[in-house]
């Protein structure tokens, strides 16, 4: 066993954390620069465009690297978003903690000061929460036709531009969807109208009318079935005159409006919410939004046209990646889409486009498959008088006969299996006009079980009349309607059933390397939308949160030490006060400034990514100026609310001073964001409090001489 100490003043772990985080700094924010990770020895290279993917590829064999990877993975697993924030803040805060150590602040004071600081910031940012209780889908999915057969919402290939990115895809998307609207039967909507049409050019932001982002009364009157509270919101929006001409020019000008706008105004339109949560990836968000609409429509059909709550169940959403097709072929389909090559299946003509009887197999469909936990007898010998019958393929042939017999008996033409499917059986089934599809996800099987009435079985021998479902349709996927997917050919097949609760987003890209990024982008958008609707609240994003924290911490750090927290309150690192023991008042400003520097660095990274390196300095002075005015205004939260457009505009599109209203609003999810902060700080504090590494299982001999420096042996 060896033990390596960590230097007190120059904490190696914190330095490592900062350097890992630096590697991911260009992957933060709406404008990202994807990276190529190249294998130093082989020809392999991978395109990464998210922090989580980057960390998967980096060689993080050190202990701190492992902890970082673990933290990011936990965040990604739980929320599917916020990994970039976590990485960036972990890096920034570890530099800040190292700086505090260097200034001689003791470790417990840093731990308690930073935890306290974050806790007060979390209380403060509640002011930026935007309630979604009244949000409703103004464009309630009337564009999509029902019934079996491949349908889709087309999405064009859009440049990822930070400005106006929120609305462009909507308009483009409509070209693909509007012509099909006549096929809808369950809703009485006017086809082809969406909120996007009611606020043309909002993204361009050329006029200053703050009400432009609101649904107009005309939209509200068209109350869709899913809309629970169609409220007229005009007056509310008039109050939000923060960006009105005249007051925007001078810092601190929000003072007189503070009384008028105590809270962030609500977000009422799903399209607005989705655009705000897209974080620059508008094409992915369009797909996610379409998936949500499709899911709601399916739910509404199942419930007989009644109103369904506005939620997004991402566990019933799947993706299917099709490399080699143009991006315009990306679309959202009802049912389950799988690439033909993945299924390895010839699709007989006869099974297409007609309801089929189906069997669902929850394991492999092969002769020698046995359920999990079954141990084959190792020492069993079969004896026979004739040697012919014992041949292996003979056994498989016999088994295939039996399977076909069962399928014929129950008139089953479609089998979905969770695992692999015997090739020999596939070939034989194709001859008898039956289709076998392997590697189908368990949730998909469950969805088809619900929709078709089938019960999942492990073996074909278990099939009985109750286990067979009906009404599943198979068709070739023909690309999004409107011809965008020409050349889709027979690349993928679509499985559908009446009332099935499944939506598949087909992601196409001419470059296979990009597909992973596109898939990640889609899931990030879908998960954000899911969390926002689940929590019924979002934060005002686009840097506003971080601004508020900065301003708040500035106020706190400047506060003189009150009589209440005397010097001696810090004299108790031992248990009299539970962790975090109060941070000594003398040291608190230093620690809080350190915490603030984390967010400052985060914001300037955002700005730098958005605008290129040239204006980094400009961005930092911009941040500094506004933080100071926010602190001076006395109430940073009102300041941020009033100046929101200018702040987020300044961060996300610096240099575009011609948009005083800053373009569309940006939103952030609540719990994922807050948890990312907590995880980042926890990680930093965990590393900070560590004073030595203990390497297990390595004796004196195994530690190489050049790295044995600093090791102590037991």
């Amino acid at each position: 066993m060896a033990r390596r100490g960590v230097s007190r003043r120059w904490h190696v772990g914190l330095q490592q954390l900062a350097s890992f985080a630096h590697a991911g700094s260009s992957l933060l924010g709406p404008v990202r620069s994807p990276k190529f990770v190249v294998d130093g020895e082989g020809p392999e290279s991978v395109l990464v465009s998210s922090a989580a993917r980057l960390l998967e590829r980096l060689d993080l064999s050190s202990a701190v690297g492992q902890l970082l990877r673990e933290a990011v993975r936990a965040q990604t697993d739980a929320y599917g978003t916020g990994a970039g924030t976590l990485l960036s803040l972990a890096g920034a805060w570890s530099s800040a903690a190292a700086e505090c150590l260097h200034l001689g602040v003791p470790v417990p004071a840093i731990v308690s000061g930073m935890s306290e600081g974050l806790a007060t910031c979390l209380e403060e940012v509640v002011a930026l929460q935007v309630p979604l209780h009244t949000v409703c889908d103004q464009t309630d999915s009337t564009q999509m036709p029902a019934g079996p057969g491949p349908v889709g919402v087309g999405v064009g290939p859009f440049p990822q531009s930070p400005l106006g990115a929120g609305l462009m895809p909507k308009e483009r998307g409509l070209h693909g969807t509007a012509p099909q609207a006549s096929a809808t039967s369950s809703f009485s909507g006017t086809p082809g109208k969406s909120a996007a049409l009611f606020r043309p050019q909002a993204a361009a932001g050329t006029d200053n009318d703050p009400a432009q982002t609101a649904p107009t009364p005309r939209t509200s009157l068209r109350a869709a079935p899913g809309c629970r509270k169609p409220a007229l919101t005009h007056s509310r929006h008039c109050c939000r005159a923060g960006g009105a001409p005249g007051t925007t020019g001078r810092p601190g000008g929000g003072l007189e409006q503070r009384a008028v706008t105590p809270r962030a105004h609500t977000c009422k339109d799903l399209a607005e919410l989705a655009a705000g949560l897209s974080h620059g990836d508008a094409s992915s968000m369009t797909l996610a939004e379409a998936a949500l609409r499709l899911q709601r429509r399916q739910a509404s059909v199942r419930q007989g046209g009644g109103a369904v709550p506005l939620t997004f169940d991402v566990s019933r959403v799947f993706t299917c990646c099709l490399p080699g097709l143009p991006e315009a072929a990306s679309c959202v389909c009802a049912g389950f889409v799988t690439a033909v090559s993945a299924a390895g299946t010839p699709v007989p003509e006869d099974v297409q486009n007609r309801p089929l009887r189906v069997v669902l197999i929850e394991g492999d469909l092969t002769e020698n498959y046995r359920h999990l936990g079954f141990n084959k007898p190792a020492r069993a010998q079969t004896v026979s008088e004739s040697t012919e019958t014992l041949r292996q393929d003979g056994a498989e042939e016999l088994w295939a006969d039996r399977v076909l017999q069962v399928l014929a008996q129950f008139r089953v033409h479609l089998v979905l299996a969770r695992g692999s499917v015997s090739e020999r059986l596939v070939a034989r089934c194709a001859r008898s006009k039956r289709l076998l599809i392997g590697w189908v996800d368990g949730t998909v099987l469950q969805a088809f079980a619900e929709a078709s009435g089938a019960a999942q079985v492990a073996y074909v021998t278990q099939v009985n009349e109750d286990a067979v479902g009906s009404g599943v349709c198979v068709a070739f996927w023909s690309g999004p309607a409107g011809g965008a997917g020409d050349g889709a050919g027979s690349r993928a097949i679509v499985l559908q059933a009446e009332g099935v609760n499944l939506v598949t987003a087909v992601l196409a890209s001419p470059a296979a390397a990009q597909l992973q990024a596109k898939e990640d982008g889609f899931w990030a958008c879908a998960r954000r939308l899911h969390h926002a609707l689940q929590e019924q609240t979002v934060f005002l994003g686009g840097g506003a949160l971080e601004f508020l924290c900065l301003g708040h911490l500035q106020v706190l750090a400047e506060q003189p030490a009150t009589e209440g927290d005397r010097v001696r309150s810090g004299g108790l690192p031992i248990a009299a006060a539970p962790r975090p023991a109060a941070c000594p008042a003398l040291l608190r400003p230093t620690v809080l400034r350190g915490l603030a520097s984390g967010w400052r660095q985060y914001l300037s990274t955002l700005a730098r990514n958005a605008a290129g390196r040239s204006s980094a300095f400009e961005a930092e002075t911009f941040i500094q100026r506004h933080v100071q005015s926010a602190a001076d205004s006395g109430s940073p939260s009102s300041y941020v609310l009033n100046e929101y457009s200018r702040l987020s505009g300044g961060i996300l599109s610096p240099g575009h001073s011609s948009h005083p209203d800053g373009g569309p609003r940006v939103y952030d999810t609540v719990t994922p964001k807050v948890e990312a902060w907590r995880r980042a700080l926890d990680l930093v504090l965990l590393v900070l409090q560590t004073d030595s590494e203990i390497v297990t299982g390595r004796g004196h001999t195994q530690v190489r001489p050049q790295e044995s420096e600093g090791f102590l042996f037991l």
Partner: protein, 586 residues
Amino acid sequence: MFRLEAKKPSLCKSEPLTSERVRATLSVLKGVLTSCYGPSGRLKQLHNGLGGSVRTTSQSSALLANLSVTHPILKILTTSVQNHVSCFSDCGLFTGILCCNLIENVHRMGLTPTTAIKLNKHLLSLCTSYLKSEVCGCRIPVNFSSTQILLCLVRSVLTSKPACMLTRKEIEHISTLILRAFLLTIPENTKDHIILGKSIIVPLKGQRVIDSTVLPGILIEMSEVQLMKILPFKKSDSFKVALFRVSLSGDLSDTGEGTVVVNYGVSLENAVLDQLLNLGRQLVGDHVDLVMCQKVIHPSLKQFLSMHHVTAIDRVGVALMEPLSKMTGTQPIGSLSSISPSSYGSVKDLCTEKFGFKWFFHLIPNEETVCSLLLGNRNDTVWDELKLTCETALHVLQLTIKEPCVLLGGGCTETHLAAYIRHQILHWKTREENNTCKYKTLNKPESILKDGWCTQTELQLTTEAFCSALESLTGSLEHDGGEILTDMKYGHLWSVQADSPSVVHWPDLLSRCGCGLYSSQEELNWSFLRSAQRPFAPQPCLPHEAVGSANNLTLDCFTAKLSGLKVAVETANLILDLSYIIEDKN
């Protein structure tokens, strides 16, 4: 051809403790343990150096389980600490550090080991009898009619493990949960003696600590798809349960060395499946509602059971078998042949729960002595630490119910005890000033001292070594250059931050003592713990009103601490007593 190799001679080392290398490794070990001690202790990252998982911890059980020490002396030490921890869960670092301190002090003062050992034993018995006596000034009786003391105890355990990364609010939440989980394990109808139930910790890794909760009964984690398959449950007041220990997957039992020969056309699998289906028929005939299996149930049997509206749950795992059998009152079934009706048990209700993205099958018992503590924390390493901490806290509560008292924590017990021992020895000395070398009137009948085998100086030095071992142990609570003081009335511990002004009015700089019982506003005298101590009589018998009013005390488990003290002194004595190490080199 045989080749005979001559045996290497055994290696014999005399006086192992005098070796410089042994002392160096001992001090490295002590450094590791000391730096982990207390709420502001530093954490250790345990990993294999090759990119495996990393464990961040400051707890002795996790630390020592991963330390592979080579020297026999260190092995003795770590093993006895590990044995102590396996029995009492708490106070492992205390034991280890105290043991190292004792060895070091005896050496530093140049005492002869034999004398030191005997006197250590004497001092230990002085300590234990004081701690057990009614007049003990650092012991609080536990009043089970209020949760205050128990909550303080749990909170102290949580606070002393910084690697859990809990905020104050989260500590409150988890303490309450632990206490509730513990109370749920106490049966309501007690007869002669209580048999405590069990709290099962269910992982909710990656979720918020604040989302942790306690539920009565047992939760079995399942995927959503699996759970949907067994829904809906039928409505009933009581469900008859059968619990299988044997695998129902339909595989053949192990044939051992032999080989089974079967004729072509005979399927062993079908034969076993028929047997399983017969079993299923018996279960259905016996009106069983719920069949659970530690291992796997054959899909066909599952299908058969679900057709007859029997819920089947498989892959329960060995860890849940004992609580399941306890809670439902079943006898786990170990054979496929026939089931005696007495093996069936029952549960009150079945339902499903969802926490975060995890789904659970929930069995609600008739009598609630088994509960599930669903524990969340942000990532794996802090979750592991929190789980260990919760187990410790639950164990500490169990120990407290056996011996209903607690000790003051935060180092106050140690300083108080040191003051008491010093005073006892001095008290004796002043009384016996004119009666040299006759130690008969020491207030404890000590035959060893009567014999006159040790001098007064030796006694004094050993006492000093013992007391300063206790005191420097409390000094290890301070990791950032702060100073430790003790007051001259109660003998409690007070700590002061580093770089404090030298000439100060102490009450301004100090606020409360380590355990939180006394405030600096009382008229007290303080002295540095490091400076030479003037013996004084610490005030015995805690005032009851003081204990009643303080609700934020730091407390330690009585049983664990007492055992730790004993183990530390006895292990130190054992190590001091070693005169040869004989190593077999073959």
